[in-house]
C-alpha cells in the first residue's frame, strides 16, 4: 500500500521500455527522447501518473519508448484523445508527442481548440518540416519551394509559423527549443511541466533521412551564435557571438540594433513572457531568419485556469448547490402519475 502511494525517487532508466527504438540512426527524435526521460524523473510525479499520448508519425512512436502509460492513437487526433483523458482524470500528467504533420496538418483543428480551451496537457511538437514516416512529403511547416516526393518542382504552399498560429489560437504557454540543445531543451520541458494549462513546445528536430540539416544554420558552431536569440524573462533581448546585437521596438514592430552603432543592452527590449495581451509574444514569434535570428525559449507564459479546473469546479458548484444526485430522484423527475393496483375508469 504505502509502497504504492509514496513516490520512489525515479531515474532515467525507469522511463525506458524494453521496446527497440525504431528510428533511423541519427534521427533527432533520439535526443528528444533522452531529454524527456531525464526530465520526467525530476518532476516528483509517480511514474504511473504519466500518460504519453500521440498521433501517427515517426515522432508519434514516442510513447512506445516511454515506460509510462501510453496511447499511440490515430493521425492528428492526439489532442482530442488527451482532452478526454484529462477531463476524466485531471490528476494525471498528460503529455502529447506529435509532429508537424500530425499536429499542424491533419490535426490542426484539435490543436487550436485544445490551445483555446487551455486544457492541461503538454504538447511537444517535433518539427522536422517534413512527413517522415510516409517517406518524405512536404509538410505545413516546409519552406516555400521545397522539393519533395509530392512536390518534385517545389512546393507552392506558404508554411505556417507554428508559434504565430498557437498564439493566435489563444495559447497560454508557448516555447521553442532544439533537439540537440539538450540543456535548453530540458529547461524548456521543465518550464512546460510547471505550466497549468496547455503548454505548446515546438522542438526543431532533424530528420537526417528526408530533410537533413534543416536547422544547421542555428546548430553549427560557427553560425549558431548569430542565428539564435534566447528569450529570457526579465532580461534584455541581446544576441550574437560577442553579445553585440539586440532587439528593440520600433513603432509597431521589432528591429535589430547593433551595439557598434552606439546602442547598448539598455536600448534593448526587456523580455516579458507573462503579459496578458498576446501581442508581445506574437511580435517575438516573428523573430525568424532572414531578417532576425531565431528566437528560442518561452514566448508566452500566462496563468489562467485550465479547462479541466473549470469543468471540475462547475461540477463541484452544481453538486454543492443541488447535492449529489440520487438516481431515484432523477428517474422520478418531471410530471409523474401513479397507476393504482386496480386502475379505475374516470
Amino acid at each position: 500500500m504505502s509502497i504504492e502511494t509514496q513516490t520512489p525517487t525515479l531515474t532515467k532508466k525507469d522511463f525506458q521500455t524494453d521496446q527497440e527504438v525504431r528510428w533511423c540512426p541519427g534521427c533527432g527524435d533520439y535526443a528528444i527522447l533522452s531529454a524527456v526521460q531525464q526530465v520526467f524523473p525530476e518532476l516528483g510525479v509517480p511514474r504511473e501518473k504519466f500518460v504519453v499520448v500521440s498521433g501517427i508519425g515517426c515522432s508519434s512512436r514516442f510513447p512506445y519508448y516511454m515506460n509510462t502509460f501510453g496511447f499511440h492513437s490515430i493521425h492528428g487526433r492526439a489532442p482530442a484523445v488527451a482532452t478526454g483523458l484529462k477531463l476524466a482524470r485531471p490528476e494525471l500528467e498528460v503529455w502529447i508527442a506529435t509532429g508537424d504533420g500530425d499536429a499542424m496538418s491533419i490535426g490542426g483543428n484539435h490543436l487550436i481548440h485544445t490551445l483555446r480551451r487551455n486544457v492541461g496537457v503538454k504538447i511537444l511538437m517535433f518539427n522536422n518540416r517534413i512527413y517522415g514516416l510516409t517517406k518524405g512529403q512536404y509538410s505545413p511547416t516546409s519552406e516555400l519551394g521545397k522539393k519533395t516526393k509530392s512536390t518534385p518542382v517545389g512546393s507552392v504552399d506558404y508554411p505556417f509559423n507554428p508559434l504565430s498560429l498557437a498564439i493566435g489560437a489563444g495559447a497560454t504557454f508557448v516555447a521553442r527549443s532544439v533537439d540537440i540543445f539538450q540543456q535548453h531543451l530540458r529547461d524548456t520541458l521543465r518550464r512546460a511541466a510547471e505550466h497549468k494549462g496547455t503548454a505548446y513546445v515546438e522542438i526543431y528536430q532533424n530528420c537526417n533521412i528526408f530533410n537533413d540539416k534543416a536547422f544547421t544554420y542555428m546548430t553549427e558552431k560557427d553560425t549558431k551564435d548569430e542565428g539564435v536569440l534566447y528569450l529570457e524573462h526579465g532580461k534584455p533581448l541581446v544576441f550574437g557571438k560577442d553579445k553585440d546585437k539586440g532587439i528593440r521596438m520600433q513603432g509597431t514592430e521589432m528591429e535589430v540594433i547593433r551595439f557598434e552603432d552606439g546602442f547598448g543592452p539598455d536600448d534593448c527590449l526587456v523580455w516579458n513572457e507573462s503579459l496578458d495581451n498576446p501581442a508581445t509574444a506574437f511580435l517575438a514569434a516573428q523573430l525568424l531568419p532572414p531578417h532576425f535570428p531565431t528566437a528560442l525559449g518561452v514566448f508566452r507564459n500566462v496563468v489562467m485556469p485550465s479547462y479541466e479546473e473549470r469543468v471540475v469546479e462547475q461540477i463541484h458548484q452544481e453538486t454543492g448547490r443541488l447535492g449529489v444526485g440520487k438516481l431515484e430522484d432523477l428517474l422520478k423527475a418531471g410530471d409523474t402519475w401513479t397507476v393504482p393496483e386496480q386502475s379505475l375508469v374516470s
Binding site: 502509460f69 487526433r77 478526454g84 483523458l85 461540477i315 453538486t319 447535492g323 444526485g325 428517474l331
Partner: protein, 624 residues
C-alpha cells in the same frame, strides 16, 4: 343570459366514450404547436391514458410564416388500452393556418374533425400555402367536420386591456386551441396552468395571459353551440406503478446515467451538436451533480476521440450523433476496436444520404455502423424498440461494452428520439448490476491477456502502479500487446476480435416469437418499427391470419436462436425504413429469402401499411 342559453344548450351535449383518439396540432413554427401537443399529452398521461406521440418539425429554425415548409406538427394518440404507435390517421386536426391545413389534411380520417383558425384564412396565406381558392368555401373539406374559429380575434378579445401588445397576445392563441381540445376531450386544465405558471415564473403577465386564454378556449366551447358532442377516453389499465411520459432521447440520457451509477464508472459524454441527437447532450449537460462530464467538442472526430481517451482513463466513454457525424467517427471507432476499449456510440438516425432530411426519421445507418470502418472491424450493435426502451438499451450497451471491452453502437432514430410514451419507473435496485473491476495486479500483467470466457482483455487504467503499458492503432501481439507485424499473429487477432463479438450471442436473450411457434409468416421488426409491427400483427391475427411477430434488439451479433426461428416460417417479412439493410444481413447469414417492406419517406410505418403487406402476402387474392 348567455349562460342560461348555455345551460339549456348543455343539456343537449352528448358525452361519448371512446377507446382512443388521435389528435394532430399543426401550425407555423412560431405557433407553439410542439408545446401545445406536449401539454395535451402530459395532461392525458396524468389521466392514466396510454399514449404515443409523433412530433414533426421543419429543418429550418423558422421558415417564412404561412408557408408549407414552415409547418410544425405534433400528433398524439391517447387510448384506454395498451397502444404501440402514435396512430396512422388523426381523428382531429387543429390547423392554425392554411399551410397547416394543406400539409396535414391528407392524413385525416374521413369525417374527422378539423378546427381551423379563420383569422389566418386570407388570400396572402392561401397563396403562400399554394391554395388556388379558399378551402373553407370551395367544398374541398366536405368529407370532414369543419369547425371555424377566429382564434386570433377571440384571443385578442380575451386579453383586451391586458396591456400586452398584439404580437404577445397572438402568441397565446395556441392556448385557446388547447383549451378547446381540453373541453372537447374532457381533460382538466390544472396541469397546464401549473406548467404555465412555472414556465413564465419570471413573466407573470405572460403566464396570466396564457392561462386566461386557455380558460377562454374551454369556456368558448362550453357556452357556444359549436360542438354537440364531447368525448371521454377512460384511463388505460396499465400495469400498476409510478409513471412518467418520456421521449427516447431523454430515456437514453437517463439510461446512461443509470448505467454509470450501476457500473460505478463516471460518465463522460463527448458530443458535437446535430439534429436529432443534440437533446441527449442538452439533457446530460444538466446533470453535473450526478458526476456527468459533458464535452462539446469542436467536431465529431474530437467528440469520439475524447470519449476513447476518457475510456482509456477508466470512465464510461460515450459519444452521440446522427448519420453524417457517425460517418466522421468511423476511423476512431476502429481505434477503439483495435485498442479493445469500452465505448458507446449512439447514432440517432435521420434521413439521408449526406445532409439529407435532418429532422426526418430513417433506419438506414445499420450497414454503416456494421461495416463503415476500414478492414475487419467488428462492433456489437443494439437498437431500442421504443422511446422508453432507450433507457434499458443504455444499460445493455454498457454491460456489453465493459464486459467485452469493445465499442458498442446504439441505433436509435428520430421517431423514437422525439416521440414519447408512458414509462413505468423502474426500481433502482432492480436495475442490472454492472459493477466493473479494473485490473490492479502488477504481477504478470499482460495488456492483451484474454479472459477465456469473454475473450476480453484487462481494463488497466493510468494511475495504477506497475501497469504502465502502451496501446495504439497498430496491430497488437496477442497477450503482450506489443506492436506486431507478424502474419500469423495478425490473422489470429483478426479472428479473435471477430470471435469476441460473436460470443456475445451466448450472453443475450433468445429472440422471442409472439403468435405461433411456426407458420406461414413471421414479421420481424427491429428498432422503431416495433410498435407498428405489433399493431399490425395483432390486427392481422384478429382477422384470423396465420402471422406471428418477433423483434430484434441485438443486431450484432444476432440472438443464438434466430436462424432456427426464421426456419420455422414459410415466409419472413422485415419492414424497415431503408432499402432492406437488415434483410441483407439475414439473407447473407441464413440464406433465407427474406421479404422486405421498405419505406424511406422520413416517416415511420403506419400499422395499416404493414397490415396491408401481411394481407397481400397471406391472401393475395383479396388484394387488388
Amino acid at each position: 343570459m348567455s349562460t342560461t342559453v348555455a345551460e339549456n344548450e348543455r343539456r343537449e351535449i352528448v358525452t361519448e366514450k371512446l377507446d382512443e383518439v388521435v389528435i394532430r396540432f399543426a401550425g407555423d413554427s412560431g405557433d407553439g404547436m410542439q408545446m401545445t401537443g406536449t401539454q395535451f399529452t402530459n395532461t392525458s398521461a396524468l389521466l392514466g391514458n396510454d399514449l404515443s406521440t409523433l412530433p414533426d418539425f421543419p429543418a429550418e429554425i423558422r421558415a417564412p410564416a404561412g408557408t408549407l415548409p414552415g409547418v410544425s406538427a405534433f400528433q398524439v394518440r391517447i387510448a384506454d388500452y395498451d397502444i404501440h404507435t402514435p396512430g396512422d390517421a388523426p381523428d382531429v386536426l387543429v390547423a392554425m393556418n392554411p399551410a397547416a391545413l394543406k400539409k396535414e389534411l391528407r392524413d385525416l380520417k374521413p369525417n374527422g374533425i378539423v378546427i381551423v383558425n379563420t383569422d389566418e384564412f386570407n388570400q396572402r396565406n392561401f397563396a403562400r400555402a399554394g391554395y388556388a381558392s379558399n378551402p373553407l368555401e370551395d367544398g374541398s373539406l366536405s368529407r370532414f367536420r369543419v369547425f371555424q374559429v377566429a382564434l386570433t380575434t377571440m384571443t385578442r378579445r380575451t386579453l383586451e386591456g391586458s396591456g400586452l401588445d398584439n404580437k404577445s397576445m397572438d402568441r397565446c392563441k395556441n392556448m385557446f386551441a388547447l383549451g378547446m381540445c381540453y373541453w372537447l376531450f374532457s381533460r382538466p386544465m390544472e396541469n397546464t396552468i401549473k406548467y404555465l405558471e412555472k414556465q413564465f415564473a419570471r413573466k407573470p403577465q405572460i403566464a396570466e395571459a396564457n392561462v386566461k386564454v386557455l380558460k377562454a378556449g374551454w369556456n368558448f366551447c362550453d357556452i357556444t353551440e359549436l360542438f354537440h358532442h364531447r368525448y371521454e377516453i377512460p384511463a388505460a389499465t396499465l400495469e400498476p406503478g409510478l409513471y412518467r411520459n418520456i421521449t427516447g432521447n431523454t430515456a437514453l440520457a437517463l439510461g446512461l446515467i443509470a448505467a454509470s451509477r450501476r457500473s460505478g464508472l463516471s460518465l463522460f459524454l463527448g458530443a458535437y451538436p446535430i439534429t436529432p441527437a443534440s437533446d441527449v447532450l442538452h439533457e446530460l449537460s444538466q446533470y453535473k451533480n450526478y458526476g456527468v462530464t459533458t464535452f462539446q467538442a469542436e467536431d465529431e472526430i474530437a467528440a469520439v476521440c475524447s470519449a476513447v481517451g476518457a475510456s482509456f482513463g477508466g470512465a464510461l466513454g460515450v459519444t452521440v450523433s446522427s448519420g453524417p457525424g457517425i460517418a466522421l467517427k468511423a476511423e476512431a471507432m476502429g481505434l477503439a476496436v483495435m485498442t479493445e476499449l469500452p465505448l458507446i456510440v449512439c447514432d440517432i438516425q435521420r434521413g439521408g444520404p449526406s445532409t439529407g432530411l435532418p429532422t426526418k426519421t430513417e433506419q438506414a445507418d445499420l450497414l454503416q455502423v456494421m461495416f463503415g470502418r476500414n478492414s475487419e472491424s467488428p462492433i456489437p450493435v443494439l437498437a431500442p424498440s421504443s422511446p422508453k426502451d432507450c433507457f434499458d438499451i443504455a444499460l445493455e450497451a454498457t454491460r456489453i461494452a465493459t464486459r467485452y471491452m469493445t465499442p458498442v453502437v446504439v441505433l436509435s432514430d428520430g421517431y423514437i428520439a422525439n416521440g414519447s410514451e408512458p414509462w413505468k419507473l423502474p426500481q433502482v435496485e432492480d436495475l442490472p448490476d454492472l459493477r466493473v473491476e479494473f485490473h490492479t495486479e502488477a504481477e504478470g500483467f499482460r495488456p492483451y491477456a484474454r479472459n477465456p470466457e469473454t475473450l476480453s482483455r484487462p481494463w488497466a487504467i493510468p494511475g495504477t502502479p506497475g501497469l504502465e503499458h502502451r496501446i495504439g492503432g497498430l496491430e497488437k501481439e496477442n497477450v503482450t500487446g506489443n506492436v506486431s507485424y507478424d502474419p500469423v499473429n495478425h490473422e489470429n487477432m483478426v479472428h479473435l476480435r471477430a470471435e469476441k463479438v460473436a460470443r456475445i450471442a451466448e450472453d443475450i436473450p433468445n429472440v422471442q416469437v409472439f403468435g405461433d411457434l411456426e407458420g406461414e409468416l413471421l414479421v420481424l421488426g427491429w428498432g422503431s418499427t416495433a410498435g407498428a409491427v405489433t399493431g399490425a400483427v395483432n390486427s392481422a391475427r384478429q382477422q384470423g391470419l396465420s402471422v406471428s411477430r418477433a423483434h430484434l434488439r441485438h443486431l450484432n451479433p444476432f440472438p443464438k436462436n434466430l436462424g432456427e426461428v426464421l426456419a420455422r416460417y414459410d415466409k419472413v417479412l422485415v419492414p424497415e425504413m431503408n432499402l432492406g439493410q437488415l434483410a441483407l444481413l439475414l439473407r447473407a447469414r441464413y440464406l433465407k429469402d427474406i421479404l422486405s417492406l421498405t419505406k424511406v419517406k422520413g416517416l415511420p410505418f403506419t400499422r395499416q401499411e404493414i397490415l396491408q403487406k401481411i394481407q397481400q402476402i397471406l391472401e393475395p387474392k383479396h388484394v387488388h
